[in-house]
C-alpha cells in the first residue's frame, strides 16, 4: 500500500501531506506535521492561475483571504466573479477555443459540468499522483450526496464540493410562536414546521397568515420569476409529489448521464404537483412571479412574508439584520412521496486545456479551497462565507458551539435543517444532462405560462415533456 493510499484510508491525510499553511492562517484545529508536505506545495511557486467563479459568498470569502495560499504555494490566484449565466458562457467559449485561460472553474453541475463534462480533468489523476498533495481527510469527508451531485459525472470525479446552497423552509419563528395557539385551533394541526408538515398544510398556513394577522402582508413568498429560480422552486413540490423530470431522475441528478430517456413530466404525479404549485402561488405574495432568489431573500428580510422556501445561505444576511434570532429553519414540507429539498451546490474543477503544470497548480488550489480549514475560514468570513461541504467541519468544537447561541457564523444556524436535507431520502437533485440548460428554460417558461398566462397545469406539463424530449435529442429550438 502506498503512503497516500494509507493516509486516505486512515483519514490522516490532513496531518501528513496536506496543509502546512494551517499555522499561517490560524486555522487553529491543531493539525500538525505540516512540514512533511512543504515541497510538494511549492513546486509551482511563481505561477499565476485564474479561477472563474459565480459571484457567491464562499468565493468572496476566499478572495478576501488568499494570502495563506500564496504563502503556502507561492502561486498567485486571480479570481474573476460573474453571474452564473455569464460564467457558463465564458467557460464554454474558453473550452471551445481550447485556450485554457481559466485553470480553476466553478463547475455548476447542471449549467457547466453536465454540458461540458468532457472538458474537465478527472481529479483521480491528481489523487493518484504521489508527487502532489492529497485531499485532506480524503474524499470520504465530503457529504456523500454532495460529492456525487457536485463532483461526479458518470464514473469520473470532475470536481470537489465547494459550496452547498440548499432550499429549506425559512419561517418567522416569532410570528409562528405568537399565533401558534390561534393557528392550531383554526387549522386543526400544529403549524410549527416539523417532519410531519405537508405542502397542503403549508398552503393552509400561508392562507391563514393572509387572512388573520397584520404583522406581515402575506403568509408565503416564492421565487417564481421566469428564471432558473422558478424551476428550483417548482422542483421541490414536483419531487415531493413523486414526480420527476425523467424516470430515474434522482440517479440522473446524482451521477449524470448523456441519455436520460424520455421525460416523465406528463405523469399524474407531476400534474398533481403542478396543480398544487399553482395553488400555492395564487395565494403567495403577488411579487412572487417577478422574484428570483435574491428578490425573495430581500422581501423576506423586509418582512413581506411569514415564510418561504429559500436557499439556506440567505441566513447569513438575515441573521445579521433586524430579524436576527427570529427566523426558524426546517426541512421543506413533504408531499405524498417525500420531502425534497433542492440542492444547488457546486464543485470546483480543473480545465483540461490548461498546461500540465497549470493543471497541477490548479489542483493545489482546489485541494486548499475545499479543505476543512478553508471552509472554517469561509464560515467565519466577515464578507459572508458559505456552508461547509465536509462532515468534519460540522464536528469542529468551535462550529458546534456556534449553533446555540449564534455568534460569528450566521450560516451555521441552518445546520440542523440542511444536514437533514442532505440525507439521500430528502435531497432533491435536478438532472445532470448535457442539454439541461435548454430543458431548464423549457420548464420555467412553461411553469411561468401556467402561473401568469392561464395555461392549465396538464397542458404546461405535457408541452414541457414534448419540448424536453426534443431538447434531449439535441434538436435546437428558440424557447
Amino acid at each position: 500500500m502506498t503512503r497516500r493510499g494509507f493516509l486516505r484510508i486512515t483519514g490522516a491525510g490532513l496531518a501528513g501531506a496536506s496543509l502546512p499553511w494551517l499555522a499561517g492562517c490560524g486555522g487553529g484545529s491543531g493539525s500538525s506535521g505540516a512540514s512533511a508536505g512543504g515541497r510538494e506545495w511549492k513546486r509551482f511557486s511563481g505561477m499565476t492561475i485564474n479561477f472563474i467563479s459565480e459571484n457567491t459568498a464562499p468565493t468572496s470569502a476566499i478572495a478576501a483571504n488568499l494570502t495563506p495560499f500564496k504563502k503556502l504555494t507561492g502561486i498567485s490566484v486571480t479570481i474573476q466573479q460573474l453571474e452564473l449565466t455569464s460564467l457558463a458562457q465564458r467557460v464554454a467559449l474558453d473550452f471551445g477555443s481550447h485556450s485554457g485561460e481559466y485553470q480553476v472553474i466553478y463547475a455548476d453541475p447542471y449549467q457547466v459540468m453536465a454540458p461540458l463534462h468532457d472538458r474537465f480533468t478527472d481529479l483521480k489523476e491528481f489523487m493518484e499522483d504521489s508527487s502532489l498533495p492529497s485531499v485532506p481527510k480524503g474524499t470520504g469527508d465530503f457529504i456523500p450526496t454532495q460529492l456525487d451531485a457536485a463532483g461526479h459525472f458518470g464514473d469520473r470525479l470532475l470536481a470537489l464540493p465547494y459550496d452547498a446552497p440548499t432550499m429549506i423552509w425559512c419561517y418567522r419563528k416569532d410570528l409562528f410562536e405568537k399565533y401558534h395557539n390561534r393557528m392550531q385551533e383554526d387549522l386543526g394541526f400544529d403549524p410549527i414546521p416539523s417532519d410531519s408538515s405537508t405542502w397542503e398544510q403549508y398552503y393552509r398556513i400561508a392562507k391563514w397568515f393572509n387572512d388573520n394577522q397584520d404583522d406581515v402582508p402575506y403568509g408565503a413568498g416564492h421565487q417564481a420569476k421566469q428564471h432558473d429560480a422558478l424551476m428550483c422552486d417548482f422542483s421541490n413540490v414536483l419531487w415531493a409529489y413523486g414526480g420527476d423530470y425523467f424516470e430515474k431522475g434522482q440517479k440522473v441528478g446524482k451521477l449524470g448521464t448523456t441519455d436520460p430517456g424520455p421525460s416523465t413530466l406528463d405523469s399524474p404525479e407531476a400534474i398533481e404537483a403542478a396543480k398544487l404549485y399553482k395553488k400555492l402561488i395564487e395565494i403567495a405574495h403577488p411579487g412572487s412571479t417577478s422574484w428570483d432568489w435574491n428578490d425573495l431573500g430581500e422581501a423576506f428580510g423586509a418582512e413581506e412574508c411569514a415564510m418561504c422556501p429559500e436557499w439556506h445561505e440567505f441566513a447569513a444576511a438575515w441573521e445579521v439584520g433586524s430579524l436576527k434570532g427570529n427566523i426558524g429553519y426546517a426541512r421543506l414540507p413533504k408531499g405524498p412521496a417525500r420531502s425534497a429539498n433542492h440542492y444547488g451546490g457546486t464543485g470546483i474543477a480543473v480545465n483540461r486545456y490548461a498546461s500540465e503544470d497549470q493543471q497541477k497548480a490548479a489542483w493545489l488550489f482546489v485541494v486548499w479551497a475545499t479543505s476543512p480549514e478553508a471552509q472554517l475560514m469561509d464560515l467565519k468570513s466577515s464578507v459572508g462565507g458559505g456552508t461547509p461541504t465536509r462532515t468534519s467541519v460540522y464536528q469542529m468544537p468551535e462550529v458546534k458551539h456556534n449553533k446555540n447561541p449564534l455568534t460569528n457564523m450566521p450560516n451555521i444556524v441552518t445546520a440542523p435543517a440542511v444536514l437533514e436535507a442532505w440525507e439521500p431520502q430528502n435531497i432533491g437533485l435536478r438532472p445532470k444532462i448535457p442539454s439541461w440548460n435548454q430543458c431548464d428554460t423549457i420548464i420555467y417558461s412553461q411553469v411561468s405560462q401556467m402561473l401568469t398566462a392561464g395555461k392549465n397545469p396538464e397542458d404546461a406539463m405535457r408541452d414541457a415533456k414534448i419540448e424536453i424530449d426534443q431538447a434531449v435529442k439535441g434538436v435546437p429550438s428558440a424557447i
Partner: protein, 281 residues
C-alpha cells in the same frame, strides 16, 4: 491605394459574414465532444427556424415592441425638442438634464427599472399602488411587464431623438418663421408647413433607433429575463439563449442572419424615404 482598406474590410466584415453563413448550414454546437463539433445540415437549421413556434413568438413580440418603442420615442423626442427649442433662458441646462438617461448603460437602466417597480420597495410601484392606478405586480403580469420594458427603453432613448431633432430645428432660419407668423400662420401651421419638413434629421433618428431596437437585449434581460410567460421574450433574447445558454451555435447563426436581413430591409426603407425626399445623394 484601396488595398489596405479592402483587406481590413474583408477581415472585419466579409469573412465573419461568410463564416456565420457557414455556421448556419452546419449543426454547430459546444455540447458533447471535446471542442466545437459540427456536421453539415444544409438548410436544416433554416427549415427548423421557420417552423419553430418560439421564433415566431419572438418576432411577434419584437414587432410590437419595435412599433411601441420607436413610435413613442419619435413622438416624445419631437415634443421635447420643440419645447427645448422654445426655451429662452436655461436652454443648455434643460438639454443637459434631458440627455442624462442616454449616457447610462442599458444594463443599468434595466436594473434601475427593476428596482423602481419592485413590489417590495420600488418607488414607482408604491406611487402607482397608493394612487390607485395599478396595484398589481408590474413585472409579474404579461401586459404590465411589456409596458414597463417599453417605457424603460423610451426613457433611455427619447433624448437621442430629441437631440437629433433639435439639431434640425436649429438649422431653420428664424426669418422664415417670423415671416410666417407675420402672415398670420398659427403655431400648428408653422409646425406642419415649415418646421417638420425642415427636420429631416428625425428620419435619421428613426433609422438609428430602428437598428438599435432590433438588437435590443440588456434592459429586458435584466428586468424580466423574457418573462413572465415569455411576454417580453423578443428575438434577440432567444438568439442569445440559443448561442450561449444552449450552445447551439449553428441555429443561433441562422436566427442572427434573419435578424440581419430584417435590419437591412428596415434600413433600406428609411434610406429610400431619405432618397425620395432628395436628402440622400
Amino acid at each position: 491605394m484601396m488595398l489596405p482598406a479592402l483587406v481590413i474590410l474583408t477581415a472585419i466584415s466579409i469573412l465573419p459574414l461568410f463564416y456565420i453563413i457557414w455556421m448556419s448550414l452546419n449543426n454547430l454546437t459546444l455540447l458533447g465532444g471535446t471542442g466545437i463539433s459540427s456536421h453539415w445540415t444544409g438548410l436544416g437549421n433554416w427549415g427548423l427556424m421557420f417552423t419553430d413556434p418560439g421564433v415566431w413568438a419572438g418576432w411577434l413580440a419584437m414587432v410590437i415592441y419595435f412599433i411601441a418603442t420607436v413610435g413613442l420615442e419619435i413622438i416624445l423626442g419631437l415634443v421635447a425638442a420643440l419645447v427645448i427649442h422654445e426655451v429662452v433662458w436655461g436652454k443648455n441646462l434643460a438639454l443637459s438634464l434631458i440627455l442624462i438617461p442616454m449616457f447610462i448603460a442599458p444594463v443599468i437602466v434595466g436594473l434601475l427599472g427593476r428596482f423602481l417597480v419592485n413590489p417590495t420597495y420600488g418607488l414607482y410601484a408604491w406611487v402607482l399602488r397608493e394612487s390607485g392606478i395599478y396595484g398589481g405586480n408590474i413585472l409579474g403580469g404579461s401586459v404590465s411587464a411589456f409596458v414597463a420594458v417599453v417605457l424603460m427603453d423610451v426613457w433611455e432613448w427619447t433624448p437621442l431623438v430629441a437631440l437629433i431633432t433639435l439639431a434640425g430645428l436649429v438649422s431653420i432660419q428664424p426669418q422664415i418663421l417670423e415671416a410666417a407668423k407675420v402672415d398670420g400662420a398659427s403655431y400648428l401651421e408653422r409646425l406642419r408647413h415649415i418646421v417638420l419638413p425642415s427636420i429631416a434629421g428625425i428620419i435619421v433618428a428613426l433609422l438609428i433607433r430602428s437598428m438599435d431596437a432590433l438588437r435590443y437585449f440588456d434592459i429586458i434581460w435584466q428586468a424580466t429575463n423574457g418573462g413572465p410567460a415569455n411576454a417580453t421574450k423578443i428575438i434577440p433574447l432567444r438568439l442569445y439563449e440559443s448561442a450561449f445558454r444552449f450552445f447551439h451555435l449553428g441555429y443561433a447563426a441562422t436566427i442572427g442572419l434573419l435578424m440581419l436581413a430584417v435590419s437591412i430591409l428596415v434600413a433600406n426603407l428609411f434610406t429610400g424615404i431619405l432618397r425620395q425626399r432628395g436628402l440622400l445623394r
